[in-house]
Symmetry: C2
Subunit: 322 residues, 2 copies
């Protein structure tokens, strides 16, 4: 996966066991199957890794494995949004494997998504920490409002970079921020430290999503279908940049052909415009600027293996290829 | 609405204001519109009424309006399930008005449903009562598992009465029970009293759903589309009873025609079989048996206006026509 997680590999193993048990404990075999599919499809467990690394960096003494429950809850909130997201988008591939809605249908994805959300809250409640509950419940609301904003404006080719950053801040960065803030809250650090970690999370999350969106046009072996966003008429930063720099003929292309069905060369044409305007590089520079702020947010913390691990995570994100 | 709610009309007014404010406070106008539509479509506010009546019966002194937040959360959890339910069923009418998915589409219904759920949990967290949080979070999980079971077995014409009761217990009765149990928990009564109220809620809820399902075949002015369950191939008690009593020809009809599209007389034929076997009356008797248990659950409480109000709610349910 990535080196930083080696430092918390024990915690990540406990998490996998915890998640696997939760899947086996469901008394509905369909639910077990979907959860097991999601767990096996894996993903990077980036948000749990954030929880664990921050907990370690802040020397949190966790005798009741609260960090595991918090990390599991965050991973399930994330997976719940993915399930509903794939229904909304009609996504068929994620992380290189078939999406749940492709295998089991939309109804199952909607309901199991709901189920994951209720499980997440049950684990959070077990932690008996109202601040952590508030952080995660607030961030869940923010994620959903981000999804709604995305649905409302992201098919609009003239949407601005600020609109895009607003959506990304809500739908992705909020949960990165919550992962860091929840860990900081468990560790009972000062408000200043908590805010610094929240800022790290927000800026990391924005950068992560920008790179994710860039890979939809430049990824070589992306687990997602290349061109997913294009065909779903989901405007992301590379498109916004290209459209801003486009001449009249190109603007006409984007307006008429963006999101149009496959096999007519539209996607290849879009990629060539994106390349011509160096929109991939410009989007990456934007991501880099957020990563810079994220790094600076950590300045108040003394050097440590864990702080370095957080910084490595940022660099890993910027340079990932899939 | 119904007489029992007159006793808690002040609380119900405060609740309406609270819900209306929550709709206005959303900074996404689509969300405000959907929530406002749901609030105006109204419904009976039966679950909030249960919370309020039980709180009064138990003389709960509520200086921080926790009961309002709990009732609002329960109403929003209920509405979230309705939003997702209508997407699953393709329902177009509910309570006599167009469903949100009919007006705004499935994507909006899925996301606003998610949003309502996160708002509900935020209000519950504000109450700072872990027991109430656990009750509602557990019941949310139960509701979803009920919906999943329903999806899995309810199109099967040979499903048993026990299967049906299991589904109904989870998807409907759990939230009735949680309404009563949460109120009892706020009022800090004995375990015995809390369990009695939970039993009242469960049995009330099962009876309520049976009558609701009966009305899909017998309702005169039902707000739902008459025959909704039939056309959605959703097996409910009147059908289970009719099928159990059916001869070979009728069984063949149910197997081949249940859920088949409109305008071919299938629904009228189904109703005639249901009438011949007195399945409506038999289903109502079943509902009555649950209502009897619900009433008996209240035996341990001394007589009061509020206890009478709970009993009146039961009778109202049994005799409602829409």
């Amino acid at each position: 996966m990535f080196e930083s997680s080696d430092l918390v590999s024990e915690d990540l193993k406990i998490l996998e066991n915890f998640l696997n048990n939760s899947s086996e404990n469901s008394n509905i075999s369909l639910v077990s199957s979907v959860i097991s599919h999601l767990i096996k499809a894996g993903g990077k467990r980036l948000r749990p890794a954030l929880v664990f690394i921050v907990c370690k960096m802040l020397s949190y003494q966790d005798e009741e494995n609260k960090r595991i429950r918090v990390a599991a809850a965050i991973e399930f909130i994330h997976n719940a949004t993915l399930l509903h997201d794939d229904v909304l988008d009609g996504g068929e591939l994620r992380r290189g494997v078939s999406t749940a809605n492709k295998i089991w249908g939309n109804k199952t994805s909607i309901l199991v998504g709901d189920f994951l959300l209720t499980m997440a809250f049950q684990w959070l409640i077990e932690c008996e920490n109202f601040d952590v509950l508030s952080i995660l419940s607030q961030s869940s609301a923010t994620i959903v409002s981000g999804e709604i904003k995305q649905m409302l404006i992201c098919s609009n080719i003239t949407m601005t970079e600020q609109d895009y950053i607003d959506v990304v801040s809500a739908k992705t960065a909020a949960l990165f921020a919550a992962s860091c803030e929840a860990a900081a809250t468990l560790a009972k650090v000062s408000v200043e430290e908590r805010e610094a970690l929240k800022s790290f999370g927000v800026n990391f999350g924005i950068a992560f999503q920008i790179i994710d969106d860039v890979l939809d046009y430049s990824g070589e072996q992306s687990g997602k279908n290349l061109g997913n966003d294009f065909y779903n008429r989901k405007v992301t930063l590379p498109v916004i940049i290209s459209y801003d720099l486009a001449d009249e003929a190109e603007k006409e292309f984007w307006q008429s052909s963006f999101g149009k069905i496959k096999n007519c060369g539209n996607f290849q044409k879009a990629i060539s415009y994106i390349k011509n305007h160096k929109a991939i590089e410009l989007a990456k520079e934007k991501a880099e600027s957020y990563i810079k702020i994220a790094k600076e947010s950590l300045d108040i913390f003394p050097s440590s293996l864990y702080k370095t691990a957080l910084i490595n995570l940022l660099d890993f994100t910027l340079h990932r290829k899939l």
